[in-house]
Symmetry: C2
């Protein structure tokens, strides 16, 4: 935990927060902090602060946080579209998405997604929350990604998706990772885009119908490279390549 | 498993191989293959083939592999230098390294590496092997990365390292990931380099002495982006960004 994520329901009053779960244990036993020590905290969906610990006892920590700092906006905003992976992989995708500042995660049905995955408890938001918070704590971020599950492929792309980007006045950049293309992320990236939807397929890949439908809606196919990656690795690779392109001097 | 990794000690005679462990179970119960079916196999540190299954029974699979295909050489060759992470993370680093075609992994001591990590059973090559093979099977590769453990930081860089790149006639590109720099991977990458050593620090980062020593030996510092990543994610991000730069048209 690089940042202790706290929430409004931890607030005692004013600037005091009381933690009674694994976070209290982490502060006491892993960080070895005592009353008077500073600790980095982030308010869920809010600012961060260097808090001061007021009291530490087994199972309870009280801390005081003032002089909050706003977390800078992410830019471009990334919406991840991910063929619903098996639960163990989904956990890793949720952690990585929160850690890397993704705005929203859309978990969709695809031909090569096993139906049983939609019965997993992880489909429920309350079961996703611990993994998202773990990612935020690692990445020193506070904004919880929106996670939505869509169990119809075509309906997601044709009906739901246009409404998902209403924040924007312009059409976002749409990208889809596939293996059978020569185009790299560099070829399809647009550094002026403020919103990017990037679709990562299931183990085994998208089927041709799915790629054709996405392409008809403006998704540009790209390959991450010569590898055969797992879903959670493909997510990290795609975000990393976009971040590199964002950092590169324009005009190159 | 995208590729069943087989080894010389599985060979019955000629082109026949007999598998009696988890690979046999995987072929029978996960892939649901029967006698006569094709299956993709890779000979450890050797070629790949589409094998034909000759016999399947509980706990045993016999297959025949001829018409071997050479696995293309990786280029550039990547040598990963990684501050020894805790065992759970090391497993993920080994899997990722094999999956992504890394030539060698050097696990080194650094100021922020806990001494106890050097007592882990995972320091032993025989305990690393399953994770490396898992990575090869995922990545459809066959070359086992060389893994070496170096428990002295300065000695590794000043004495051991020059000898590690004797394959080469030229000095390889040397890169070190740090947080406190403006340089991206694009700024430090050299597409003509045939060998690249890339160093990834411990959780908490390198200390200034370590960065200074590496820089004095020609390591160029770069940042992967705005994130605070775990070691295993930093490895994937660095390899992904190098792969993107490799794919980009030259002169850009």
């Amino acid at each position: 935990m690089n940042l202790i994520i706290i929430a409004e329901h931890d607030r005692l009053d004013g600037n005091s927060f009381r933690l009674v779960d694994f976070r209290a244990e982490h502060i006491r036993s892993v960080l070895n902090l005592n009353a008077g020590d500073p600790v980095e905290v982030g308010l869920l969906n809010g600012p961060t602060a260097t808090a001061r610990i007021e009291r530490v006892s087994p199972g309870e920590v009280v801390l005081c946080a003032d002089s909050w700092r706003e977390v800078p906006m992410s830019e471009p905003e990334i919406d991840l579209i991910c063929a619903l992976p098996r639960p163990q992989t989904l956990k890793k995708v949720l952690i990585a998405s929160a850690m890397m500042g993704v705005r929203s995660v859309h978990l969709i049905r695809a031909n090569r997604v096993e139906k049983s995955y939609f019965q997993s408890p992880l489909i429920q938001a309350e079961n996703q929350l611990p993994y998202l918070v773990e990612g935020l704590a690692q990445g020193k971020l506070t904004r919880l990604p929106r996670v939505q599950v869509h169990d119809r492929f075509r309906q997601f792309f044709e009906d739901d998706m246009p409404h998902l980007t209403l924040d924007s006045t312009s059409t976002p950049l749409r990208l889809v990772g596939i293996q059978e293309t020569e185009y790299s992320m560099h070829d399809v990236f647009d550094r002026t885009a403020q919103e990017i939807a990037v679709a990562i397929g299931p183990e085994g890949g998208w089927v041709p119908f799915e790629i054709a439908l996405m392409q008809s809606l403006g998704f540009r196919p790209f390959t991450l490279g010569r590898w055969t990656l797992r879903v959670e690795h493909a997510v990290i690779a795609a975000l990393s390549q976009m971040e590199l392109l964002r950092m590169m001097p324009s005009g190159r």
